[in-house]
Symmetry: C2
Subunit: 147 residues, 2 copies
């Protein structure tokens, strides 16, 4: 996601008002790489500004999504939508043990689909989810005995 000030600027250009709540949410999200859920974002906002409501968090997330600053990643582990602050096209790594979600940096191309396998679809983009075990969970595996 862009810097807080960039987003503030874009919100103002669109005629949106800059409230302390919105600014705080921008600050918490810009630079975040953890792909938090709405609830996690709400919790973080709470510690900084205890009176912010869930609704405001949801609203702001929706506005940022519409503006293309955020992308929502459909429910992977039934804990809700996870937000990706990196709006450029990229793939993801999902830890099947702890549900961590990481970006695959850089450009990795998905394969082209041959026409006979494309079912007539006109393909516009693609997204690869790599499932596996993150480094932290690999450590625990060796250290913590049998599963």
């Amino acid at each position: 996601m862009s810097s807080t000030e960039d987003i503030v600027r874009r919100f103002m250009q669109k005629g949106y008002k800059i409230t302390p709540q919105r600014r705080k949410i921008f600050e918490l999200l810009s630079g975040d790489k953890s792909h938090p859920t709405a609830e996690e974002i709400y919790q973080r906002v709470q510690s900084a500004m205890p009176d912010v409501s869930r609704t405001t968090v949801y609203n702001t997330l929706r506005e940022l999504s519409v503006m293309g600053e955020l992308a929502g990643l459909g429910d992977l582990d039934a804990s809700g939508v996870r937000y990706d602050t990196n709006p450029s096209a990229h793939h993801h790594l999902f830890c099947v043990r702890c549900n961590a979600l990481a970006d695959v940096p850089g450009k990795v191309e998905a394969p082209e689909l041959a026409p006979e396998v494309r079912a007539g679809y006109r393909i516009e983009k693609s997204q690869i989810m790599f499932y596996g075990v993150c480094p932290e969970c690999q450590n625990e595996e060796t250290g913590a005995g049998p599963c």
Copy 2:
């Protein structure tokens, strides 16, 4: 998914009972390629057996998932989990207009991730979602005038 009788056999081997409800759900699912939601499956079961409860549908879907006969595909369009009756590894095509979901037949390999891009993950499998427009929606586009 396997044939109804194969699944019945596997359920019996596990000591599960074969009820008319379960058998009907197996029948409706085996051979299905539409990636229905739990609610859609419930509706279809209803037309054949009006007294089946949602809970039974959900329970049976969970049992089939645990047994590996079904795979749940996390929420793509906020209408709930969609069930894939094809348990072998394959990729998907998602229509961004009508939310249709289709299998990519055969083996299409996702790219290997270079170590410097893998974030330390041990990768176990991967799944590519191709986003685009299905043939039906392409037809409507040309026929139905401006969007």
